[in-house]
């Protein structure tokens, strides 16, 4: 590591730890948040938390919600949604690999997979994010906030979903493997064509749980400076001093996103249900 590198790492560390301190202090009074001054487009800050707009037909709280909505939605669309979709997709792949390793791989690989699941499930997600974003620079690994969050959430989804995937793969009766082999399929063909489609159906409800949790958990990325939905709400609160209104608004947006996913879950389940009570078909 060159001196220049070390300097930049030190600088990053200083910046990041400074940020943590501010964040910790900031939580006490919403005033010292480490943010740039955030101006709402149409609400001139008047201090003291009062933003009465002259001539506005809407009550103050609703006007504030309407005014902050574009900023929150934009943050949701540009950070929360991509972070959720990317880390869920990558996490599912990681979970699938981990589950297959735990079910079918030789003992040393199984041990590695178990260690991974044990560590990730046994430590708080927020702590993991801090280790990746604030901790790794000490080792010379300096990640931007978004990739750091993406890695943290992917590792997390990978560990949790691997347990679900492992369970649903083992829930497919042995006879289905044998039927697949008996018509000449190889292991990968049997897995892809016969086992996973059946396991997938059983996995929809538990994986939906994981997905919906993830949507809400992405708000933790605010703590490592990702300007996602919740952090944007925090920033607006810092200038408007309206925590109740803004945080309820943020909560409602999360609720809306989760609701969309619940609807998708129902759709997916009914699509899988078209082949009927397949438990009887296995009897």
């Amino acid at each position: 590591m060159s001196a220049g590198d070390r300097n930049s790492v030190c600088e990053a560390l200083r910046l990041r730890s400074g940020h943590v301190l501010e964040q910790l202090h900031g939580n006490a009074g919403f005033t010292a948040l480490p943010i740039l001054h955030y101006e709402l487009p149409s609400v001139p800050a008047q201090g003291g938390g009062s933003h009465v707009l002259k001539g506005s037909p809407l009550p103050h709280w609703l006007q504030l919600m309407v005014d902050s909505l574009p900023a929150l939605l934009l943050a949701g669309l540009t950070f929360t949604v991509p972070l959720t979709l990317l880390s869920f997709t990558l996490g599912l792949l990681l979970g699938l690999v981990t589950a297959i390793v735990r079910l079918f791989a030789p003992a040393p690989l199984v041990a590695i997979a178990r260690l991974y699941v044990w560590v990730i499930r046994g430590t708080p997600l927020l702590v993991q994010l801090f280790v990746i974003f604030y901790g790794l620079p000490s080792l010379g690994i300096l990640l931007d906030a978004f990739p750091a969050a993406l890695i943290g959430f992917t590792l997390n989804i990978g560990a949790y979903s691997s347990e679900i995937i492992r369970a649903v793969i083992s829930s497919v009766p042995r006879g289905q493997w044998e039927a697949a082999y008996s018509i000449g399929m190889s292991w990968p063909q049997a897995m892809r064509r016969t086992i996973l489609p059946q396991a997938g159906r059983v996995a929809v409800p538990p994986l939906s749980n994981t997905f919906i949790s993830l949507v809400k958990d992405t708000s933790l990325a605010a703590a490592i400076t990702v300007p996602e939905l919740f952090q944007t709400a925090q920033r607006i609160v810092a200038t408007t001093y309206e925590p109740l209104i803004l945080y309820i608004e943020a909560a409602l947006i999360y609720l809306a996103m989760s609701s969309v996913l619940s609807v998708l879950q129902v759709k997916l389940e009914s699509r899988f249900a078209r082949y009927g009570g397949f438990l009887e078909a296995r009897a």
């Binding site: 009766p173 006879g175 044998e178 039927a179 082999y181 008996s182 000449g184 059946q198 397949f278 078909a281």
Partner: protein, 253 residues
Amino acid sequence: MIELSHIVKRFGTHTVLNDISVTLAEGTVSALVGPSGGGKSTLLRCVNLLEIPTSGTIRLGDERLEFTPDRKVGWQAIQKLRRQTGMVFQNFQLFPHQTAIGNVMEGLVTVLKWPAARARARALELLEKVGMAHKAEAWPATLSGGQQQRVAIARALAPSPRVLLCDEPTSALDPELAEEVVEVLSRLAREGTTMIMATHDLRLASRVADHVIFLDGGVVVESGPPKTIFSTPERERTKRFIASLSAPMSYEI
């Protein structure tokens, strides 16, 4: 020619098959009968290598595979032998997420890489043969046991295997539904399909088989034409087993 020589299968210290040698001519139907745990199912599953014999030799047409306890058989060799067989299971084991015709097409499309249209035509032909063409688009869960088993027979026959293996094909069915399946299997037998079946069903064995092999304790106790084995068995063990079968002696149908 299907030749099993000196087949031994052990699970741990338990010997399930103890030096079994049988030779079956192509175009004939052989029934493996005997008490549960006697090894008939294991022997059948050794033919398509769902169980790998501990030692012995299997010859299927031109393929010959030798097993020894200290050497693992390669995947390629297993596939080569297995692809000459088709199997029908006691519990049908249709793929529940595919329609009847989808089940029959699966091996052709996924394994043999046939174009879908050609596979569909072949599948429909086979469903016709087992009397299930009218249910081609049905999900397995909506079919009766007998119907499911007939679809399963069509699925097993799709890649034109050299031998059809049937593991208790009628045991999960009531007598009426079993009759549908016996009907289909005896028609296949008349057409010259080579079959080996493990069964308790005397009706099936007596109507379909040319050759009966009585297995107990992992060895062949007695073998011969069904009439001889079922009506005038030589060995005491065979007599006791045949007498214990509650089904009427319906050999002379």
